[in-house]
């Protein structure tokens, strides 16, 4: 009961943030001319042929606050406009591109968290030893690497030098033909999972092969943050009284670290994992562009270049909602990891 209450209360807290996001979006929107803005209000490209009527119909020359409320009404009806880069309405395009991005996240997020935590912990335990210096250098270089450059370099080596070993895009030509054909059921539209469900192992392996480089790129760049937080919180935990108690009990070093220190050190990592998600989304824009994976990030990057306003604003809205939802999950996890936190 407490749990549901808490979730409901948290969901209500989303509203102010969403209103804030909508205001930001609308301010950005109002920087454009009415002609440019028209695309935000239409659901079909045919309507754009007669822009003046769209402007009139949606009152794009009306006072700004009137426009805001009209726009909000449209958004609440699920109409986010027509994306010319995706050649479909924004909401449709969103669901069209989502699976590829989920796939990327599904593989990289666990890696980022596991490697980050492992490196941070080892670094803290062997403080000032060579392994600590090495993993800190790895983290800081990873943190400083331009993701787009890293991606290109990886492509240069693994696609160019090892001719076609790890190619860009989401699937090979043959595999994508099969996937698009009728006798391949697309349950989730996530390639790897669908391939498994269809028991087409070679497609699964092909999808995996295409995933390796983008996942490596994202992991190298993003696990630095997890590592550094884990390291400092682990160092802090190792200095706490309960660690001496555990040692005085006769616990061996392994138990002290893996049982007593780690569980406490994880708490700060959990609290920042919401930001980690936001960072991942930024990374996705770059990696998907470089590796030509047709996911959300790829779409947004093209939309920004081609002045596809509805798509770009949709991206902002989506990320705002995503951030709020991930933070809700993070809060629940936080309560699980730290018994001192009570929900409610």
């Amino acid at each position: 009961m407490k749990m549901t209450n808490y979730i409901i209360r948290r969901l209500l807290l989303i509203i102010p943030v969403l209103i804030g996001v909508s205001i930001i979006i609308f301010i950005i929107l109002s920087l454009f001319s009415p002609e440019q803005r028209a695309a935000v209000f239409v659901t079909d490209v045919k309507q754009l042929r007669n822009i003046q009527s769209v402007i009139k119909k949606h009152g794009l020359d009306a006072p700004i606050y009137v426009q805001y409320f009209r726009w909000i009404v449209e958004v609440l009806h699920g109409n986010l406009g027509w994306s010319k880069t995706a050649e479909r309405p924004v909401l449709d395009a969103f669901f069209y591109f989502l699976p590829n991005t989920i796939e990327l996240g599904l593989f990289s997020a666990p890696l980022i968290i596991l490697i980050g935590i492992y490196l941070g912990e080892t670094s803290a335990v062997y403080r000032d030893k060579p392994i600590d210096h090495l993993s800190r250098i790895f983290a800081i270089v990873g943190w400083s690497l331009p993701s787009f450059w890293l991606g290109l370099m990886l492509l240069m080596i693994f696609y160019g030098y090892f001719s076609g070993l790890l190619p860009p895009e989401a699937l090979g030509v043959q595999a994508s033909l099969v996937v698009k054909s009728g006798n391949f059921v697309r349950f989730t539209r996530i390639n790897t999972i669908d391939a498994l469900l269809n028991r087409r192992w070679w497609i699964f392996l092909d999808a995996l092969r295409h995933l390796i480089l983008p996942v490596i790129t994202l992991t190298i760049i993003d696990c630095a943050m997890v590592m550094r937080i884990m390291r400092s919180s682990m160092l802090e935990a190792m200095g706490k009284g309960y660690i001496i108690t555990a040692r005085a009990k006769g616990a061996d070093e392994r138990t002290v670290i893996k049982k007593h220190a780690r569980r406490n050190a994880m708490i700060p990592v959990v609290t920042v994992s919401g930001y980690l998600f936001a960072m991942l989304m930024s990374g996705v824009v770059i990696t998907e562009t470089i590796f030509d994976r047709k996911g959300l990030g790829w779409w947004w990057a093209r939309a920004a270049i081609q002045l596809d306003i509805p798509a770009v604003l949709g991206a902002v809205l989506f990320n705002g909602i995503l951030f709020v939802l991930t933070n809700l999950i993070v809060d629940l996890l936080y309560a699980y990891f730290d018994p001192r936190v009570r929900l409610g």
């Binding site: 009284g241 001496i244 108690t245 005085a248 009990k249 006769g250 616990a251 569980r263 406490n264």
Partner: protein, 388 residues
């Protein structure tokens, strides 16, 4: 009565940015079996470092430089003296919490906030009494197996559990055993011994005077009051019936009423468990209540060691005298404070470390460090003005 702990010329340094902190300088004392020694001194004089050095819980930048910590591992009334400082770390882990254990100053930070009280007490049993736990588990399984009304499946799981217990009892935990213990269905013996350890924790908590121990074991430390937390800390320390209990200011962060309760508890437990106690405090009053012997520490050295009565009746060392004069007592209006400050242990005063603050200091005190000498029955002092 035989000697339980004999600390000889213990020296511990801390290598810090400011320089080498000479935290302990040739500290020596003894504790007889069943006896209580109080260690008294100002904050930062090395009381806690002494206790941690005995437990060998000094970590970099700290280092135990020299000395001996001789502990009597008595087995069937046969004394066996071991120098703790010469043993391996693994050996020490078997001693800590089992033969020597410790109670800490701040109960709220001494307990791990993310585990329940029961889990933390049970850990002591699981670390040191695994054999007994497995034996108990095995006999319990046997009892359950003799019951007629068992389902077929239950019988199978029980016999798997029994096999695992026997395996654990027969050979020490081998790699294969550890590996098997991670597999579901094969790891049920672990749940069972955890449950048994938890039951033991309930018994222990009841002994500590915790109301409703069955419920308390499932609570987290932050849900308990300071007094209850300290009882839990004591329970953890006493779980395996140690021969020596080191209590590092166990009451100084508690309310006065709870302080008295905890002191009574320690006194009572000392009797029932027949443990010796090294009681550390900055409060002479508390020491007088609990201990038979007192050692007064100043700046990393022991300056006077005597029975409580002797020390209060006939204090010899100028520092002890000053210390006694600074305790508030009824009838005495103006308290005296000790002139000067606690010395910086990076550059401790030469000779007797107390000489800059000593009213009687003479030339010799600035040069020669006084050795601790016997000056009467049950009375030792480290001062140039006494003895030969």
């Amino acid at each position: 009565m035989s000697e339980l702990l004999n600390v000889q010329d213990l020296k511990t340094n801390f290598y810090t940015y400011e320089g080498v902190v000479k935290a302990l300088d040739e500290v020596s004392f003894k504790i007889e079996e069943g006896d209580t020694l109080g260690l008294v001194g100002e904050t930062g004089c090395g009381k806690s470092v002494t206790s941690l050095s005995i437990m060998r819980l000094i970590f970099p930048p700290g280092k135990i430089e020299s000395g001996k910590v001789i502990f009597n591992l008595k087995n069937n009334s046969k004394s066996r003296y071991v120098d703790l400082l010469k043993q391996t770390e693994h050996w020490m882990q078997m001693i800590r919490g089992n033969e020597i254990s410790m109670i800490f100053q701040e109960p709220s930070s001494a307990l791990n906030p993310v585990y329940t009280v029961g889990e933390q007490i049970a850990e002591s049993f699981l670390l040191h009494q695994k054999r007994q736990l497995y034996q108990e588990a095995a006999s319990k399984i046997d009892k359950e197996l003799t019951k007629k009304r068992n389902f077929f499946i239950q019988r199978i799981t029980l016999s798997i559990e029994k096999k695992m217990c026997q395996l654990a009892l027969k050979e020490k935990e081998t790699f294969i055993f550890k590996f098997l213990s991670h597999i579901p269905l094969l790891n049920m013996h672990l749940h069972r011994i955890k449950k048994i350890a938890l039951d033991k924790s309930v018994v222990l908590l009841r002994m500590m005077g915790v109301p409703n121990p069955e419920g308390v074991v499932y609570r987290y430390p932050h849900e308990l009051s300071g007094g209850m937390q300290q009882r839990v800390v004591i329970a953890i320390a006493l779980a395996c019936h140690p021969k020596l209990l080191i209590a590092d200011e166990p009451t100084s962060n508690l309310d006065v009423t709870i302080q008295a309760q905890i002191l009574d508890l320690i006194k009572e437990l000392k009797k029932t468990m027949k443990a010796s106690v090294l009681f550390i405090s900055h409060d002479l009053g508390v020491i007088a209540e609990v201990c038979r012997w007192v050692a007064v520490m100043y700046a990393g050295c022991i300056c006077e060691l005597a029975t409580v009565e002797e020390l209060f009746e006939n204090p010899l060392h100028p520092y002890t005298r000053a210390l006694l004069r600074s305790i508030p007592r009824p009838g005495i209006k103006n308290l005296e404070s000790i002139e000067g400050n606690v010395p910086n242990l990076v550059n401790p005063p030469s000779g007797c470390r107390f000489h800059p603050r000593c009213p009687k200091a003479k030339e010799k005190c600035t040069r020669v460090k006084p050795k601790i000498k016997k000056v009467g029955k049950d009375h030792f002092v480290a001062c140039h003005f006494y003895g030969d």
